[in-house]
Symmetry: D2
Subunit: 479 residues, 4 copies
């Protein structure tokens, strides 16, 4: 078999191969049509989720697994409706393309509406399921990658045409009630991106990635998306031995500059978001954490053009608490969106679990409230069912649980603020700086000679207890 034959085979197989990725259940290629067992139609009789009612708020005492216990969308907390603080979004990839596959196992999820293909018809049917899901769950936002929602064709042109067709349907289904939180281009799954996209060592890949982002940005704009996300899937390295890190980072900057220029050109006003992650799939991702991403943006003069999309699981993988990453983003003026999930404290890879830890949720909401909310960003559920959760109702249970947990966090923050003792404790700790000399210091007017003079005058300084245990007690009491 010759190289050309292999390449033809590759073209033919790609779509199949991709089908067992975590983000894509087993399917047939869009272009094989009748050879696959797909029904060939995007129609679906009746409901996609027949046994599932519209999810309602029933309060904390409810035992109904298909009801909210803490999330009451219209209820006003701290001056805003819960839904406006939380701006929940469903992630199309996990919820509709998550197959349950992992590095050691094949897909486990075979939803009733899937016909085993990745045909255009199936892509559209799946999009209909998405909108029914959103409606029943009472979530008004969604997010996607280009490759989640439409099948690859044989060429870039075909890819784009397929995408257009599905996006047109999505636009129609959005109607006036559902909105797009953000779109993005998937630049990590295809073999062409194995060395990265904007940081690939191959110039052709750089160009291809640019074309793909261009299109994804256009359709995000068309769908009224409020943000556009860059997650640098393979922008990083596997070993420094074969890598010119400086050159790669320069390429990444040039790429993002071009994205900014194109955004302006087409009149897209959404926020551009960078999503930090320390590693996986690469040994080192260039957007390691919030501070690393901020350094990159500052170095290349891009701070005004980007914000950060902080993911809790990425935070802990980088050695920080999620709260730390949110606060770091916030005080750098960069907190734009949250990918709501959690990891396992004993696991060293991205598990993307639904957050159910109340303390963690309360800390997350503390940052959000301090930030005055996240709009135009929101909470995107970048979280997936466990591989072993294979009932359709599990999709609902997981989202309800995640929404309730964050809603409970918001209620706890309201309690903390009402109580006031935690913020008073913090305020008091620093009150020695609320003085004349403190003001001089903070204004940059206290030089070492003045400070030495003061030190000699004051003698040994008194230092107060840090009261960490008291702070923890107060915090825990609000949960």
């Amino acid at each position: 078999m010759k190289t050309t034959e292999i390449l033809l085979l590759l073209l033919c197989l790609n779509v199949v191969c991709f089908s067992a990725l975590p983000s894509a259940p087993a399917t047939c290629p869009a272009d094989l049509g009748s050879e696959c067992s797909g029904s060939g139609s995007d129609e679906w009789e009746g409901e996609f989720f027949p046994g599932i009612p519209k999810i309602k708020y029933e309060g904390p005492s409810s035992k109904n697994h298909l009801a909210f216990k803490w999330y009451n969308s219209e209820e006003v907390i701290l001056g805003k409706k819960m839904k406006d603080w939380l701006r929940f979004s469903v992630a199309f990839w996990h919820t509709f393309r998550g197959s349950g596959a992992d590095p050691f196992g094949a897909p486990t999820k075979f939803w009733p509406w899937e016909d085993g293909t990745n045909s255009l018809a199936m892509a559209k049917r799946r999009m209909r399921a998405n909108f029914e899901f959103l409606e029943k769950l009472g979530v008004e936002w969604w997010c996607f990658h280009d490759k989640d929602i439409s099948p690859d064709g044989k060429t870039l042109e075909e890819n784009n045409a397929n995408l257009d067709e599905v996006v047109a349907l999505a636009k129609e289904l959005q109607g006036s009630k559902i909105r797009l939180l953000w779109g993005t281009a998937q630049l990590f799954s295809h073999p062409r991106y194995m060395h990265g996209a904007a940081t690939s060592s191959e110039v052709g890949v750089y160009a291809y990635a640019a074309a793909q982002v261009k299109k994804a940005m256009e359709v995000t704009h068309y769908l009224g998306g409020e943000n556009y996300v860059f997650w640098g899937g393979r922008e990083g390295y596997q070993t420094l031995l074969n890598t010119d890190m400086e050159r790669e980072l320069n390429h990444l900057a040039r790429f993002l500059e071009a994205a900014v220029a194109y955004k302006k050109k087409i009149g897209f006003n959404g926020t551009l978001l960078i999503e930090p992650k320390p590693q996986e799939p690469t040994k080192h991702q260039y957007d390691w954490d919030a501070a690393t991403s901020a350094n990159f943006l500052r170095k290349y003069g891009l701070t005004g053009e980007f914000k950060l999309n902080i993911e809790c699981n990425h935070a802990t993988l980088s050695g920080h608490s999620c709260h730390h990453e949110l606060e770091t983003a916030r005080i750098n003026g960069l907190l734009g969106n949250i990918d709501a999930n959690t990891g396992d404290p004993q696991i060293g890879w991205d598990t993307d679990q639904f957050l159910t830890d109340i303390g963690e949720a309360t800390l997350v909401m503390l940052s959000v409230v301090r930030n005055g909310g996240l709009a135009p960003g929101g909470f995107n559920f970048d979280a997936k069912l466990r591989r072993e959760s294979i009932d359709v109702e599990d999709l609902f249970i997981a989202h309800i649980s995640g929404m309730d947990t964050l809603a409970r966090g918001l209620r706890n923050v309201a309690k903390l603020i009402e109580d006031g003792s935690l913020s008073e404790l913090v305020h008091k700790r620093y009150e020695s700086f609320d003085t004349e000399i403190g003001a001089l210091i903070e204004a940059g007017k206290a030089d070492f000679e003045l400070l030495e003079k003061k030190a000699l005058e004051w003698g040994e300084p008194e230092v107060a207890s840090g009261k960490q245990e008291l702070a923890e007690m107060i915090f825990q009491s609000a949960l």
Copy 2:
């Protein structure tokens, strides 16, 4: 679409789905034959690796990437041929079924001899490639999982028939020069095993797994395998909230007891090996590390029947050095085999890299030499090419590099032993126990009253320097 239809589709798709697993490149199902683009024949004209010569030893000064610089198979080191100390084995799954897929990406490797199917014909052709690879590389052992080497059919009977056909060819190709180090059953990829195999919550899965192990043990025996391995892929839990750990561990013990009984029944004299791993794919694997596995074996009275297969990457994931795990296995009388690879010290998942660290290799060989070698076990290269390494020659380079590194480690151990100063340092540290009182203590005859009497008599004990820096200096000098 009804459940039954879905199930049929599932049956049909399974083989496709599996095709994008790391352990299986994109293929067609065995039973679809002509609908796939496969050639339908296991023939292959000429060599599989046409540009690659038989790999020879050229010594440390060679610049030839396709030559050994340290591994000289027939050379005698410490009284044994290098090949007898090292007993290298190629892992069929990584080398011939590794596709380059990862949780974020599709396969990247498309070897020339692959026809895009997982047909029986293709399975056989691949087996021929394996034996040419072994011959050119100068490796005399190989290892496999049942699912690596033969395609699934629609039923257990069909699976077994397919396996038999491929195994018959393997037997023929082995001839008198190549031997099977070990076989094993793959009990983690298929959705039926999502809750484990011997520890699945479903009794039907337990039975299915038993049938699969029964068959894998039979073919291992048929091929003259010297060992049989149990790696508990999904024997563990994702959350304790839904798990009865005690019951699952009991089931695992019953399963292994049945395996021992069957081994004896069929007259298979190979060693049974358990392979510890702390986690991945599950949050917690029951065979966490060497000590945990030893505890399990002791608890259920299985210590006489099993040894351990230690993998370096699993060792570091469990928080230990590889040398620690080897020594723990050794002093518990359980060191049976080594899965030769390494991880990345900053990465929290199993990267299965080829070991190229000389210090690490020297420590590994230190344990092996202390153990008097590994036979009937050996060094199985449970290591894979990086996803981005897509040239056929990379398969050779990686194995040569791994073989040379361990060979260099063996040479270093010989230097250390010849020099003698490191073992003398250790011996001297404990010489205060080479005394009358030391002998009493070690014989269990020194009670607390005697010891207190001695302590009062001796006064404050003198304590000598631990000389760690000196030990490290001596060790480094041997590298």
Copy 3:
């Protein structure tokens, strides 16, 4: 200066040197008496904690930092008084000898009752403070190391005499209301123990350690202690390069056998407890985790004589959840006591923080309730104030917070049990084993041939959803 002079100086300085250890605030040596600024008397006018009332239960709505919100000692939960489930104990070392020193800093805590010495008088005064603390806090148990409560003398005989004097006072102060949960010998701080105690390379150290444990066991018995703990402070290695691990483990086993013999000889009926910890201060501690400790006990035939003291922070440092370690101990029949604390999920050393995480506390109590309680063990607060918490009231706040958190955990477990849906979910998962074939398997009567027959008969097994998200939702609802 000659070696002998240095040694004399060493003797003189040891007691001083030790004074800046974390477990010992700045003091003078016991034998220098008047040269130190100590008051020379164990008297103390009035209360040690004058502003602190007896801590009472005020319920969840209380804002009083010096009141219990969840712990109501006499209230009956799940058939037992809270105090009998929880059996709280104060750790003398952290609470009364914790100085706030750390590897980068000097002591920060200077309690009013401390006179700057480690004289016998001061040791007694400190013991009085301990009993007032217990009384005000409403805790009925305490724990100690020999070196916490009495100063070193120049010889073993002097050490023992000092210990006797303080222990006599403690006995008196215990009266009928306060009891000793456990005692232990401190075998890691003194330079003589730098290579370990029972695993030291010096036989004289082994003997000294035996004498010290002998004495500590005697005074524990005298004080009516219900348990005796072995924490292998430096029983482990810093590098395998200079270590004979097998010989050291044998010595450890001989040592523990002698301890068992002596325990029986003196009629001490308390439980002997081993406390697993993976590392710190050594690179590797021999009692790495519960399973490793169980393996050691089984290997040397000691399982009947020892149980485990599980510490949550040690659990997470070894890569496990605390719940995992508790369950592992429980199903091995080894759960004896809990060192109640927590670590920081992003920190790689032992922070010994007071547990305030409600979810974690609920999981801990789940294991305790399954175990039928911990008696004769209990919950020892092996937790310390942060270095920066320097107010006397912080000692109370921290303990109240820790007690309330575990009490809240217990209440949550009661809710979970009452609700029943979580245990039902688990029970149902395994119900396919509650069958005839399941019973055969569990009885060890199902061989591979029978199982294969069943597998062929049954065809592809059905596998149910793992329902992890539902389990998490139910769990979270109980918090």
Copy 4:
């Protein structure tokens, strides 16, 4: 006892207390003079290291532990003398004040020249030992913290006077052969710094820290120091619950700005260096890693004024390889100095071991060579003897081993460069960017429309193998 008495006692005890810190062996306070057993004189008869010869280069075949096998100071490698590439420096704190104390144990090291005090006389005698050590070792640079080399007095004035006296001696001893690599102020051990120094919540502490840095900078300048280091010992937080991170970071920036101003005022031309560390002693240090520190410097406009001091052990604690941190510093134009040490890959705290890993040393030297050397920075041995290494000769063995390892690394880099194949491999990977379109991209002139046009024109891009295994083979061959 009243508060004032306690405070007096505190003043008296501080110096004692500090004596058991890792950085200070057991001593008497400087101001207690005769009450301590110190000799009261800085004289020392004969040599400090009587059995130790001047260390010479004997080449790789030498078995002499007190000789260099790889470091040949005057030998020219890659166009420079080894000593000019390496600029080794001894760290006064570890080598002369390291006591062997750790969080679980008292000091273990009692050097012959120590008289058990921290008197001024002792401080001077110790300084003489330092210079004899440097001379015998053949190291021309040293580093110190103010608190290492001189005892605290009762006031800031007394501290400064003590420092001046010792520094005058050091200046004399430096002569023309020994130079100061850098000085620094120790701002983390004293209780006053428990909440940080520049980021303390107490304004008095901020002022005290400024006074201390002012003085330390002055004496560094006086001694001809070529750099001045800021390691933010406690600049960070223990919990975000009690912390105003934004305000603290602003204070830190104001502090560093004042340092820059003062440096210029006194005409000190040395480089200011920030030393990143992720955590320990605090839960989170503000100078987490190189990128975080760079972001801080950029945010506050300080990039022109500071470089970074990269420590390998800090690198790995932050989740990066040391090579990564060095490269990150280098490509941000910030690589100023290296704190040469290593950690343990399985340990989560700072072990500050001497580096003996050849591969690691080679990677470190690769960055240094790419940087054109480190001058005016160098390699400071921020590494300490293990607690159990208590022989005087261990101090020499450890440094010789560390020096030889880096020297061997340098020789390996020379081999790699001479061979050329590794750099060629990297160069070739990116050659598709050495084209017209590549140049446009790198010049920021390729917009998305142009790139899309190219992508359409080119079709599916070809992607070459990453050749990681080959790169690893080449690298290993040079070791």
